[in-house]
Amino acid sequence: MNDRQELNRNLAQMLKGGVIMDVTTPEQAKIAEAAGACAVMALERIPADIRAAGGVSRMSDPAMIKGIQAAVSIPVMAKCRIGHIAEARILEAIEIDYIDESEVLSPADDTRHIDKTKFAVPFVCGARDLGEALRRIGEGATMIRTKGEPGTGDVVQAVRHMRKMQGEIRRVVSLREDELYEAAKELAAPLDLVKFVHANGKLPVVNFAAGGVATPADAALMMELGAEGVFVGSGIFKSGDPAKRAAAIVQAVTNWQDAKLLAKLSENLGPAMVGINAEEIETIMEERGK
């Protein structure tokens, strides 16, 4: 691992215990920052609208991303398509703070991800299980998030992915050292990273929850299951009172163990995003890029 990757892992450590919010305009970015977002994800359409519109979904217009960079002092992230090396280079050229190589956009390469070790800018990638997370980290990702099922407002997939990943981590910890070679084969993951998990009981990078988080209770649930912070996509700006809901989710992530506070935070937030049940949808984004 080079110095750059160490620095990029360090930035993710600074985001821990925080909420990263999807925004589409400088105005939304300011609302998110004022509500306590630790970073914003700049994109032209939030996942719920990408899902509704259909068609090919690509990297956002750099001018739009720059507008958001100018509006806030917190880190700004943006998405590129899976395997789209050129989109990633463009985002690096405009000095984005973190690139999300994301299944929410249409994949540019259906088998390979970007070799992220070749970039100075950090990457976050989605993962549904431990093997997927370690493959992405092997490629140079310095932060991991669950995939969830973006744009649905249904937290069921994020829960499934986080539980699976944490369960597999516990299993790897319980193995004898001479069993790690077979475990690496089963997980289809780099051996050195499997050894790290065995020795430390966690991923070598920060692990956030993403996909379907719509309420303070959803955020607290994901923290309970081992997330180190949450991404909230469509859940905020598709709801009735975005500023209030955003601030409530931020507090819920800090004090996820305090049910009395969560009850107060959950009061009178206005309508949550309507959402769709993850099983009712046709385009399964989490299947993109394994």
Partner: protein, 179 residues
């Protein structure tokens, strides 16, 4: 020694590990009730200062912590923590180039946020800290100290600019000794 680590957002786990490595007992400060445990030192970790500052006020932690800091409780702050303590924030848009801090404002220095640029400007270096040569220093989207009052002691510098300081009960740095 008992260290209370502000744990509303950021790299508080790393800060706790740092103090435990130095033989201290640590606990997390997430809400008002946590302050009842009492502490010999308050540690303010890295993270996003805007988020930490907002949560300090939303959770009612701001006033009680300010009282303790004003009362002489030793404070150890890095990065975002330093921003929360600074008296003035560098703000090119304002009349004299600075604005008073809306946070603790107890450390007589001026701080410029994200002074080295975005994440691509983050870096590591090695320098002398408080007489200790070869101290590794990690700067993550770090602030810079652009002005200090004469009574502030400078403990380390980078390119001639102070990067950590001591003043009365406060020790603070723009880089991360805990990483």
């Amino acid at each position: 020694m008992k260290v209370g680590v502000l744990s509303v957002q950021g790299a508080f786990a790393e800060m706790e590990a740092y103090w435990r490595r130095h033989g201290a007992e640590t606990f997390e400060i997430r809400q008002l009730a946590d302050l009842e445990r009492g502490m010999d030192l308050l540690a303010l970790p890295g993270g996003e200062s805007t988020v930490q500052g907002k949560l300090l006020k939303d959770l009612g932690l701001f006033e009680p912590l300010k009282e303790r800091i004003d009362g002489g409780l030793p404070v150890f702050a890095v990065c975002a923590g330093l921003i929360l303590l600074a008296e003035k924030i560098d703000d090119p848009g304002s009349r004299d180039g600075t604005r008073p801090s809306q946070w603790f404002g107890v450390l007589p220095v001026t701080v410029k946020r994200n002074a080295y640029g975005r994440q691509l400007g983050s870096f590591t270096t090695v320098g002398t800290w408080d007489g200790h040569p070869n101290t590794p220093m990690t700067f993550i989207r770090a602030p810079a100290i652009t002005a200090v009052q004469p009574e502030v002691e400078i403990l380390s510098t980078f390119n001639g600019q102070p990067t950590s300081v001591r003043y009365r009960n406060i020790t603070a740095s723009t880089w991360h000794p805990e990483l």
